[in-house]
Symmetry: none
Subunit: 221 residues, 4 copies
């Protein structure tokens, strides 16, 4: 009863999948700790696999980082959808998303930054950025309509804000996440729509998504 052949990969395929997950996790950690100039061999060592296996799966350091970046973007999209689905309140959804995003940051490495501005744009990255934009627009739009988020803050501010809040703090363990979340709450206090008589205007124009693309991708792209 119940043929599970196709559903549950076994043996070699299973190990390959496990290796891939360990590789991605190791890459996130290593890039987070040492930046772009971390040796690829350190990633392989931490994943417990040989250089050859790493390079079989990711033919270059750059492609490995691209995958990492794409996985991070997809994770953000998922977290945005989850926040919208599970939090009835617009502000709660908005805050929940930032909280989730930063928490994932702290434990498993860089999401967008670290390798930002070094990797060329690809079709996949463009598509992922589009999905991310749609998801963040929904979050920000909902909060704006509810009147709980200051009007001069846009969806394109979110990635930069996350990039700032996730700035490398070379501490291992949960302390880094705790510090990140501390400053997130500070920023959330600044994001709450102020009473009309206390409203201030953020200086400088908001970033737009085209500008983000320039920030994230290599100049030549």
């Amino acid at each position: 009863m119940g043929d599970t052949h196709a559903a549950k990969p076994r043996g070699r395929q299973r190990e390959a999948d496990r290796n891939d997950a360990r590789l991605m996790q190791a890459a996130r950690e290593v890039f987070a700790e040492r930046g772009w100039d971390a040796p690829v061999s350190e990633i392989a060592r931490r994943a417990g696999i040989g250089m050859g296996s790493l390079y079989r799966r990711y033919p270059s350091k750059e492609l490995l980082a691209q995958r990492m970046r794409l996985a991070g973007m997809e994770q953000l999209v998922t977290q945005a959808h989850t926040a919208l689905a599970e939090e009835p309140d617009a502000w709660a959804a908005f805050a929940r998303f930032l909280h989730d995003a930063l928490s994932a940051q702290g434990s498993s490495g860089p999401l967008l930054p670290q390798v930002g501005g070094r990797l060329p744009a690809t079709d996949e990255v463009v598509a992922a950025a589009d999905r991310l934009r749609a998801a963040l627009d929904a979050l920000v739009g909902g909060a704006h309509r509810a009147g709980v988020l200051r009007a001069d803050f846009t969806s394109a501010d979110i990635p930069l804000l996350l990039e700032h809040l996730a700035a490398r703090i070379p501490v291992t363990g949960g302390r880094a996440t705790a510090l990140h979340l501390r400053y997130l709450d500070l920023v959330l206090a600044g994001l709450r729509a102020p009473a009309a008589d206390q409203a201030t205007i953020l200086p400088g124009p908001a970033p737009d998504w085209a500008e983000l693309s320039e920030l994230w991708n290599a100049p030549g792209g």
Copy 2:
């Protein structure tokens, strides 16, 4: 009396000083643009001096970065003193300091971050950190006494906050500074002491200065 030797360096000494200033400026720019893994030769090239001269003054890349970091810390101290001296209002002084610190960041490279966590602690760094702490305590203490700064924010939060706000955004030209200042204003909105009935508490304990030392200095130190 009447000795002007020290007051007016001439000839070689003068050129040496000029070289040193150019070197430091070049190092700030290059590290800001390309990160820690920028080649030393690029710094020499941009400063317009030979490799030999650079290495005569700074016997290693690490020592050059240490100097750069110390100069950045001293600049912060100076900016704090200036803000206190020139701004009669406690909040204005506090905000002015953060503004000055970030503006200097944007134009001339990294202050504390970028090389953070890579360099060993030295007596000079410890002393500079003490002076920085004293200066920031004065700023924060004044703001707290005036009741304009949220009570759960400490002087040790400032370096981390600056580190976050100054996170490398790979944009050249004034746009990076404009974006940095945009998020500074957002944070300032969150830092303003709220009315008692709207007060929130930042999660997680505030960092302390001993912890900062761990964040900034290489593990082995």
Copy 3:
């Protein structure tokens, strides 16, 4: 009597033989196209078998190349015998052999060269060289006795001449063979015994078979 086991291999043995032939053909092609530094995996891929099977049959790249070289030498012996048997005229047999040898070169890869000087001598190679020498002596001796081949040309010149004529010309398709045969005819014109009053003497001593052994085998052998 009545035992046909050895005569008609069946099933596995048959497949193994077919694999072996495909492997040898693939090796000749790949080494011809890309030289000694072609990846072994390319040979396996082109033969349509896995790496494991290749390494079961040939425990190292070097041993594979040795086999290839031996097969090439045996092919030369066969071609010499065929030429002697099928061509009644001494010159025709001599020319036919060179033509056949070069044509096989062009289509299926290197015979002697390409890997020359890289592989150690073995008993098998020595024995094959002896057989080759005997076959070429017969061809050259016949032509000398018939007075159609210049007297200062020896059987030991033939392998070197073939090595020269078969020098890798990186052209795919039949064009390489056509070019090879063009220069063969040029050389044949020079090999024809001249009239006594026009005779010239080739400079330098003829190679001998001991010298060939040094040229073909790795120094350490």
Copy 4:
């Protein structure tokens, strides 16, 4: 008296020039002996310089080989001009050129082959090929007009013929050159214009210079 500052480079410049010559010589030798897959470090070792110095002068293995190839082509042009200038007889000039070209081969490594088909075409290579063609046309044209060279041999045959005659024979010392010259004389016997009643025609069309370009340069070029 007599200012020799500009004429005779001294000190550092002198050493740089010496290094460059040693490097080119070492590259010719190493590529000749071990082919394209010889380690660059072996070239540096044999030239007696460090890897860094080699890479300062030639930023990649490919560029080093390109220089080597260009120097070889220029040497051929020079040898052709010399042969035409110093030999009054058309056949003597033709034979002298081939002799000189092959002799240089034997002693100092590959001229055209070895790396052929691996390097992209560049403007410099195209220009050098044009000069080579002009020089060889003069040699071959003279011999044809004098009626001493078989009519179906063209200037585009010469590079291929040299490539064949210079085929790697892994012998060090003068013996390789002696063997090369032995087969050159054989070929020269075949090149002499035969009496009309004995004339043969070389099979296959002669190569043309466009085809040579394909043979020498990497496919993508």
